[in-house]
Subunit: 237 residues, 2 copies
Amino acid sequence: MGLMVDSIWTRSRASAPARDTLSREQIVKAAIELLDQEGLAGLSMRKLATKLASGATSLYWYVQTKDDLIDLVIDEIYGEVDVPEAELAGWRAGTLLFAHSLRATVLRHPWLPEVIYTRPSIGPKAVSLGSRGLALFGAAGFTSRDLDYAMGSVMAYVLGQASAEVAMHSAVKKSGRTVEEWTGDVMEQAKATVDDHPEMQESLRRRSALDAAQLQNEYFAFGLDSLLDGIEARLRT
Amino acid sequence: MGLMVDSIWTRSRASAPARDTLSREQIVKAAIELLDQEGLAGLSMRKLATKLASGATSLYWYVQTKDDLIDLVIDEIYGEVDVPEAELAGWRAGTLLFAHSLRATVLRHPWLPEVIYTRPSIGPKAVSLGSRGLALFGAAGFTSRDLDYAMGSVMAYVLGQASAEVAMHSAVKKSGRTVEEWTGDVMEQAKATVDDHPEMQESLRRRSALDAAQLQNEYFAFGLDSLLDGIEARLRT
DNA sequence: GAGAAACTCGCACAGTGTTCTAGTCAGCCT
DNA sequence: AGGCTGACTAGAACACTGTGCGAGTTTCTC
């Protein structure tokens, strides 16, 4: 009974490194670079090893499996997210900063949505992020379960919206055209199916009338502001 | 110039099927079954072919690549989502129904988050879903860009929250324990990193004090209600 | 009956994650 | 100094992946 779940985070190095050697940090860093350049499909143990000028199977000394490596990578990324102190910014402004930082992080690492939803994030940096987030919301007056709910809902929204953005970006990139051209293509190509749907037509037309980046910003802000309004209202009950 | 993007949706069968033959529908259906049973990693063309009692490469007559197949699969899944008519339910109730239906669909197909964020959804059923959603929000009085933003924000939140749920479920399943046991494991295992974070400790303790499913429901409802409150307020300006 | 489609599928290729095993190196003990 | 131990490297091999190719079979059309 009570057998412990053995995960990456429980293990640690036993003594000092012997000579000029590989390291987890190094491997994780290289993996992130590879992911940023070539996406999730472009990350293979062999390619990663070549990048590190080592044998492919040497990596397995530092990492149990590829999945474990990805756990490490994800946690590293969580470390890039800013969570301001409540005293400095106040809740609303602080949360906006946090949300935008999280969004920017996802956009910087577009392969993230493909992997974060396959596992809960319980690494040290993810925990630290969660903790600082809870502090921010706690300082605003949220307590007990509302505290968790509020924080979690903001994260869910931001990750969801950013993930959708990333999905579009990657499709555009794969097509090798500009965002605007791509939108046009999609409209044309989906014409047959969209024709029966007047609401969709208008929506697509609206979409192409505006600069794509600005549109995404407004999109993001609309939902975030709405959500925060709603959450804030729950504070006064 | 203006070269069309060639996608799954543009192609169509030329004439009637010849004899007792495979079909796209059949393949897609089998793929979904396989995905539900074994997850994304469990879907391979060979396994799928065996399930259909056919040769592996025969599938390539109906489907250009595995990615195309997944496009078809995703669209099929979008067909499972309910979007009520505005006249029947009204905006708020209708949106709640829609949101819960979308969430339930994701929970029914936990591999979905792993794939939806790698491509925008522009298949016929996804378009139909979007269109009916826009109709629902349009009937409530949203117009122009607010219409798109409101609808998109709700989708982003729901998908984000459901995806996070699914991430936890799959970790629990992989560990082979109950949700409650697993939560305990995680707490114990993350003790070292969590110990410096008092907010996190309380949050985790709170989490284990409540039935997991009920907690997820409350979680989901909190953010959704907040978001809808905020969106609704924007209707009156 | 001939020819053209529609459809099936075995073979092969390059690539994957990972295990196993033999090896090299650095530091410690006697 | 010599040998042992543990830290670390890495090649060979296994079972598996997606998919292009080309040859085969079936059915429809004239």
